[in-house]
């Protein structure tokens, strides 16, 4: 197998992992602080992508579209929180799952009504549409590098925000004992709204960034949502650091497995069973990873501190 191909797939995996991190970060923050399991988080990713396409058609510029879609998805997250989700924080997980499942059904179908069931596309921005030479005779698209760059920047920003700002301190305190910081005079309701809106915006950002390279269609958020669940279970629920490590792990393993597992199996198996088992095993790979990690560490790689 050529090294260059592996390198390309490694970068693809990294890019996928970074996107997963953006979705998982919001999910794990919301769960950590509010003990709220939000299935509707994937829909916010989908909506980010749709908003980007809509604004792109309006303005004709990717950057303008991104600049408009980001606050729009923040706004949408806040509206969703105030109208529906806020009423669910005190309920048990089963009811939260069912209600946010209802939100998913509604929004997936709503998107279909507004924009149609057919997948939408949008162009790459001029500035980022080229490719750069990676090594001799191998080029890699600039746009994917840009995604990796933005994702890593957000991860760094989140690290600083959570560990070195006052609001971040409240978030960490809320994650370990929400009732206590409420008793100490922090407006917990407002903190919840801020955290939720922020998480929705991160998911929206991921959606905006994939809009030019994936087809934008109803239900595109569901698959990402489930992978984000896998990520935060592996990383430890409530832990941003865990989400980061696990997202990259899942992204890389999933991508590499899909590209190379069939060929690798061919080395040890005859071709026809390899062709059947390869794809099946590749699609199972991350779930097996999750199972293995949970068998060793039931609370994930980096369990959030102060959580029973």
């Amino acid at each position: 197998m050529p090294t260059s191909l592996i390198l390309v797939q490694l970068f693809n995996g990294l890019q996928f992992g970074v996107l997963l991190f953006l979705v998982a970060a919001g999910l794990t923050l919301v769960f950590g602080v509010m003990d709220f399991i939000n299935l509707a988080h994937g829909v916010q990713y989908m909506l980010g992508a749709y908003l980007a396409v809509a604004f792109y058609r309006l303005t004709g510029s990717f950057f303008a579209a991104a600049a408009l879609a980001l606050p729009a998805s923040l706004l949408f997250g806040l509206v969703l929180e105030v109208v529906v989700l806020r009423r669910l924080y005190a309920r048990d997980h089963l009811e939260q799952v069912l209600a946010t499942f209802g939100v998913i059904l509604f929004l997936n179908q709503g998107v279909k009504i507004v924009w149609g069931a057919a997948p939408l596309n949008m162009g790459l921005p001029e500035l980022l549409s080229g490719s750069v030479p990676l090594i001799e005779g191998l080029r890699y698209p600039v746009y994917r590098f840009a995604i990796i760059g933005v994702g890593l920047a957000v991860a760094g920003g989140l690290y600083v925000f959570v560990n070195h700002t006052r609001l971040g301190m409240l978030v960490r305190a809320g994650a370990s004992n929400a009732a206590m910081i409420s008793a100490l005079g922090v407006d917990i309701k407002r903190l919840f709204t801020i955290v939720f809106g922020f998480g929705a915006m991160l998911a929206g950002l991921a959606g905006i960034m994939v809009a030019p390279i994936l087809s934008v269609e109803p239900g595109m958020g569901d698959q990402v949502l489930i992978l984000a669940f896998v990520v935060i279970v592996i990383g430890g629920i409530g832990s941003i650091r865990g989400a980061f490590v696990a997202a990259l792990l899942v992204g890389v393993i999933d991508t590499l497995g899909r590209s190379f597992l069939t060929d690798a199996l061919r080395l040890v198996l005859p071709p026809s069973p390899a062709r059947v088992i390869g794809p099946a095993l590749a699609s199972m790979a991350i779930y097996l990873l999750m199972a293995a990690i949970l068998a060793l560490r039931p609370a994930g790689l980096f369990p959030a501190k102060g959580r029973a």
Binding site: L94, F106, F229, Y287, A291, L294
Partner: protein
Amino acid sequence: MLASVRIAGLAAAQWQALAFEERLATGLFLPLALLPVAAQVLGGYLLVIGERAMILGIAALSLQFLIGVAGLISFGHAAFLGIGAYAAGILASHGYGTLALALPAAILSCALFALLTGSIAVRTRGVYFIMITLAFGQMAFFVATSLAPYGGDDGLTWPSRTLAFGTRVLKTETVFYYVALASLGGVYVLMGRLVGSRFGRVLRGLTDNERRMEAIGFAPYPYRLAAYVMAGATCGLAGFLLGNEVEFVSPAYMHWQRSGELILMVLLGGSGTRYGPIVGAIVYLLLEESLARFTEHWKVILGPLLVVLVLFGRGGIAGIVERWRLGELSLVTLWAASTTAARTQRERVMRGLRRAEAMGAGVLDRTIPRAKASAAAFAARWRQCTMSVGEAVVSLVLSVERSISTAIARWRRR
């Protein structure tokens, strides 16, 4: 004529003699048993809907055992529907589609999958369990889509329904209907026995207070794992029947939204009872059927309905029945609740009105005359508006309530 009256009298006497639980079961299963007769008159599609409802009822019942009794919220239960149907379908595609092989294969493969995934999933609790079962369900889904020899994404068409004792008797729709009904009845009885057994009571104890149960010597893990395997195997039976009904199986059976629908059926019916999930499955199918006839975008209506169900419908249909039975929910209490709501609404409106008038009259007087004028206009408009619609309704409700309560008071004094 006389005979029929006598039969009716006997039936009424029998009904009186039944306990509440038995009445529920009779009220549920008797109409189901009579449905094929009605289908003769009203059309064969009733039979198909009935079959589907009973099969999904089995699946929902097994999920209710997990959620309501063992306290394990599984979000990957649809995987068992698919695995059961795939096991029987794959055997059938190789020419082994007989009842003696396909049914045990469906149930055992589900039990095996439950044992493998459960041994990891059951180690965790709460939200971890939800996410892990969801992930394992998704894993099963993707494995099914990559099963190229068995149709992959497009699904697998069975050569025929399962052969029972070497005959094609299951091909007859009425026979298959009663087989499904018998399966549902069997599972219903079995679940009742299971919940009442020592095993079931230990499970409930673990759900109520795990620490106390551990202190008196019960390890949670084996009990919960056994419950998970049993529920999975039971759902495998439902999968076997579902595949038989349409002679087809596809990865869509295992889609995670299916798992969500199963949870919905359990909660819609009421997760604390055995009849709840069956009622939930029936109501859900009827809801889907009628909403889909109304608009192709029926999920836009279903979604908000779910949210409303969660926010206001505590305990589902079974909860309403239970409250009615205990007398908490009667017309009188409903009426009292609505009048209280009307009164608080009226108070809220009056308060807003006073505030707007105060703003118009006093506070803004010295500052900005323009704002004062607009506030006054706003207050006037509000008064007009509320007087016209809201006030009218509220005052009507209140006057009726007043007259009723004075009538009751007069009657009491007598």
